[in-house]
Amino acid sequence: MKNKVTVVLLLMVIALITSACGGANDNDAAQTDDEAVEISWMTYPPFTPEYETMLKDQIAAFEDEHPNIKIDWITNDDAVQLTRQQLAAGAGPDVVYADGPMTLRRFASAGYLEPLTDQVDTYKWNDRFYDWALSTGYQDGELYGLPKSYESVVVWYNKDMFAENGWDIPTNLKELQSLNQTIQDEDIIPIAFGASDYRASNEWALTLMYNAYLGKDAMKDVISTEMKWNDDLVKEATQTWVDMWQNGDVSDKQSHAITNDDAWSLFNNGQAAMKIEGTWASNRVMGDAQNFDVGFFVMPALREGIEENIPLALGGSTGINANSEHKEEAIVFLDWLHDIEASEMEVKLGTFNPLVDLDIANVEDVAPITKDIFNEITSYMEKDQVGYASWTYWPPSANYYLWDNIEAVFIGQMSVDELLDQVQKEAEKDKEEGLLFEFE
């Protein structure tokens, strides 16, 4: 009884905190069928109409194959927060979407998710997924979720502008700095970046810079706290990014005063030559927003003696609610969402599920830029030159402190030393709470 009262109180408080920013539910419930089992699945609203159509097609295809299961697809602007509240109250959707492995593991450690280890052999998930991706769903030796859509952060650039001015893609830090200066001399902003509407996006740039400067091995050591976050190497990486910002290379020192859309406008209008963003931005360069060719490149190694790498992340992870009344059916849907048929439907829109057999050459009507991204990431995976993106691997409190305060360093309110000393403390706290990523 005491627990129930506690849960009710907690829910009311959370509802109060989130009410100002919560969106309305948008139920796209499947048709009710008395004989069919209904499985609920909550996600964020699709970010494009094409994506919505694709998801509806996926659901329709699944229901055709499994007439005994109906999917109640629910979208919400705060899907993960709402799921979190519902799970805390012993409710929540049958199929639980988390915005990455870290959230999935938090849910798992609280006992909200059903262990799926026994299903690994049944569905041959070990053969289907890349090892690095499937391993992110494990917590204390049990599998709690499947990995969804891998992604990275790259530098998008104006191919025409580069060609007209004879600029080359940089291969080291010196060349990058020199390129930035050359671009500035032409009264063009070297790198467009905007974070005023979503300050967490600062982690995209930090992910790129840290992986490029530290290299994958040192990055892994820092994440696991074997190397300290306030180590000289991390300080150098941070200072390199801060120097670039203070030199006016990044949105003319206004990245904190413009939104991400504003930054894309600078790029699309030819006012900026490059744009830092994730590979998900391929959707932005497939339309008619630009009247020039857009390319991308992987940030070069910014330090002598290390190989360049592409930082990898998972855009989502999905598990099964431990309180679901239809676990068996929910697992069938979970498996279907991650099989080759569903994944090929997603590839066209630039979403890549981490399946070993997913070959973009087998899929029709894929935009060239999407193919290029897919092939580039795959080639780096094959070469084992992959780094670690913040939103999948970094200690959560340390990562939060970093992106929350990097702008204070840009504008001189805080020093790099002060920033990283506190980040180290936050990482130690994360370690105490068992929130560090468990590398196998």
Partner: protein
């Protein structure tokens, strides 16, 4: 009068109204009282929003005392309050006074001043974000007019970012104050004003010694609302700067939201929320105090 009749009347007079009010009161208790109790409870826990909360005593309050960001946010809230207690109130009072003196077209001017208030917060905040855009907003116009020296990084410069965001809110909000003042002015006793004029008092003196004292209840109400709302300010900052650059526009509400949602610390966020509630409570107590002192509030 029979005992039965007396008892029936007593029931009607004292218990029946409460019975009618009961559903609303119960709802109020549930909707308002529940979260308050929940917030107080959570402020003594380390709840991460996922696992069951553990009692940590006064640890969150001890952390709050040493939390630099809390003090920055508190200072920003006080600045925010100072802005709203002065600029929009003075603007609204002057404009309301002018409108009240107009014989024709009063409705037009009243509507014009009120129009921004009917725009949604998100629309207004996005509109002002466009205006403040350093690459395409008002700076471009200023440069075209040869007024480059006035161009600023309106929400990028930590020295002025808070004022820029507050100005956007103020632009949206001040028409509401105009309407409140106009309503207050309609209640004024015109004969006192006329008597003062007959006695030779100038316009300024009439305003200062006759009009303004009569508007005191309206002013007190406005000040009470503004002080409480200033401590709950959230939306403009969240949409336009999310507390940045650095912590220049961080407010208690945005800080609390970040802690609860991004940093998985709703336990500590509740402690911050509690301080906001305490400030609001102090304000109400303060106004009750001046009311008891005989002010017409």
């Amino acid at each position: 009068m029979s005992v039965a009749k007396h008892s029936k009347q007593h029931w009607k007079k004292s218990l029946f109204p409460w019975l009618l009010l009961a559903p609303s009161l119960l709802l109020l208790l549930f909707v308002v009282g529940g979260p308050i109790i929940g917030t107080i409870f959570l402020s003594f826990t380390d709840w991460d929003g996922i696992k069951a909360p553990s009692f940590v005593g006064l640890e969150n309050f001890s952390r709050l005392i040493h939390d630099k960001t809390f003090y920055i946010a508190l200072a920003n809230n006080i600045k925010w309050m100072a802005i709203f207690l002065t600029i929009p109130v003075i603007m609204a009072l002057i404009v309301a006074l002018l409108i009240s003196k107009i014989a024709r077209g009063k409705l037009f001017y009243r509507t014009v001043t009120f129009i921004p208030y009917i725009l949604s917060t998100v629309v207004t905040a996005k509109l002002w974000s466009l205006i403040y855009n350093p690459f395409s907003g008002v700076n471009t116009a200023l440069e075209d007019w040869g007024l480059d020296f006035l161009a600023q990084s309106w929400i990028g410069d930590s020295a002025i970012a808070l004022f820029s965001v507050a100005f956007a809110d103020l632009w949206h909000f001040w028409g509401f104050l105009v309407v409140l003042f106009l309503m207050g002015m309609q209640q004024l006793d015109k004969s006192i004003e006329e008597a003062a004029v007959v006695e030779g008092a100038g316009r300024l003196r009439v305003f200062w010694h006759v009009t303004l004292p009569q508007l005191r209840p309206t002013l007190v109400l406005i000040y009470m609302l503004l002080i409480i709302w200033s401590f709950a300010a959230f939306d403009y900052v969240y949409i336009m700067t999310q507390g940045g650059p650095g912590k220049s526009t961080e407010l208690l509400a945005t800080y609390m939201y970040d802690l609860a949602i991004y940093n998985y610390q709703p336990g500590y966020a509740s402690t911050v929320a509690l301080t906001m509630g305490l400030f609001a409570g102090l304000v109400i107590i303060g106004f009750r105090f001046i009311q008891k002192k005989g002010w017409d509030v």
